[in-house]
Symmetry: C2
Subunit: 223 residues, 2 copies
DNA sequence: GGCCTTATAGACAATTCTGTCAATATTGTG
DNA sequence: CACAATATTGACAGAATTGTCTATAAGGCC
């Protein structure tokens, strides 16, 4: 009936791409343990030895997946922040939505399973972002103001940690706080955070290196 | 030679506890996929059918693990915040260290695999915390000040999301920012965040419900 | 002390998943 | 057109894991 050939023969590049996309979907949904070669192959519509042919082994597939996740992450952040220079509502919104739609989950799996490859191959992107934001901050400050660059670093780190944390635990935390788990509540948090950060960055800085008496007291009370 | 009995017979309660502890260690280290009955049994020093005897099935073990994680989480947060009422360095330090030592990882696994049980069984603890903190905030404010309770909620949510995010992604983010991945850098972040939060909570509030023009512009530009 | 309950152990069944191998079909090239 | 290269397939091997079943031993109770 159909004139379909018995086999669909893809270029090696196309095959790798299709396999990676299917594997990513499963990674975000069910975690690395859900990446079973037969299932991924079924999603693509091929037989599982094809995956082994193109990636050598299951571990090779995971490795390729890691690299792709890092690339996506860097590209998203660098591109978005690079255009703005300041974490506005718009920037945060894009970062949050990118993370919420599977990127954070993929990254979490890779971090938790320790399959993040060699240390240092990753994201020097953050360094770049911190530098850019700090420049803008200094330029916007009244002349003569001294701003501790570490305060800017802390702020960016806070945004990053909160974005990842919200992407993964947000729905559960909101449910525990009696809020709607998804939808408008998340964007409201993004906007709130953007305002907080913008407000904070417009101030000189918080003094670091002050002895954290309370924390030390707690530690000594515990030990 | 040894007078050890051929079999160590525990009470059912003890057996369950030892098995859960061993399983938790593996959960934090290698994720749910690493919870293999034979391995957990070997850690405890028993044979794997014992686990099935006490928990019915592997899924039963995971369920029990979930409940324990939720209990630990609630107890940690409630006890700690309950004593202070304000998120000081001391409070944040305790929450952060609890999360960093496996609790966040355990929770992440459970959330990511969707094994968090029925919705609503979880953490109404957050609601309680937000209420407590908001009361303290209102009491400390100059009389006549109107404080939006949602701003307090956002602040607590930020702290929670950041704490979870830092526990899981902190080392990697710091490595990407050129900082030492562990040790003093984390406590410095805790103290910085505590100062930021205390500063923010001492101010009236950020106005919510203002139209988020930038976010909407970005959304319309995308869709 | 004798007996009943039950925690524990060892062996086995059944399933599932990764990886290998030989065979086949499709595409590009001379 | 013939041939080389390689993407794809089906069948199979090997290993690992969950769960079942029967037997045994430890502890509580009369």
């Amino acid at each position: 009936m159909s004139t379909q050939p018995k086999r669909i023969r893809r270029t090696a590049e196309d095959a790798r791409r299709q396999i990676l996309e299917a594997a990513e979907a499963r990674l975000a949904r069910t975690g690395p343990a859900g990446i079973r070669l037969q299932d991924v192959a079924a999603d693509v519509g091929i037989s599982h030895p094809v995956i082994l042919h193109h990636f050598g082994s299951r571990e090779g597939l995971i490795r390729a997946l890691t690299e792709r996740a890092i690339d996506d992450f860097q590209e998203n952040l660098l591109r978005v922040i690079g255009t703005a220079g300041v974490p506005t509502e718009s920037v945060l919104s894009q970062v949050f939505t990118a993370l919420r739609h599977g990127l954070a989950q993929r990254f979490a799996w890779l971090v938790l399973t320790g399959e993040t490859g060699e240390p240092g191959d990753g994201d020097k992107a953050l360094q770049e972002i911190i530098r850019t934001v700090h420049e803008h901050r200094c330029a916007a400050a009244p002349p003569g103001t001294v701003i501790d660059p570490r305060d800017t670093g802390m702020t960016i780190h806070l945004v990053a940690a909160a974005a990842f944390g919200d992407a993964i635990f947000g729905p559960h935390l909101r449910r525990g706080a009696g809020l709607p788990a998804e939808g408008e509540a998340t964007t409201r948090f993004e906007n709130w955070l953007a305002a907080l950060v913008r407000d904070h960055l417009s101030k000189p800085a918080i003094v670091l290196d002050q002895p954290s008496s309370l924390a030390q007291a707690a530690a000594s009370a515990k030990g």
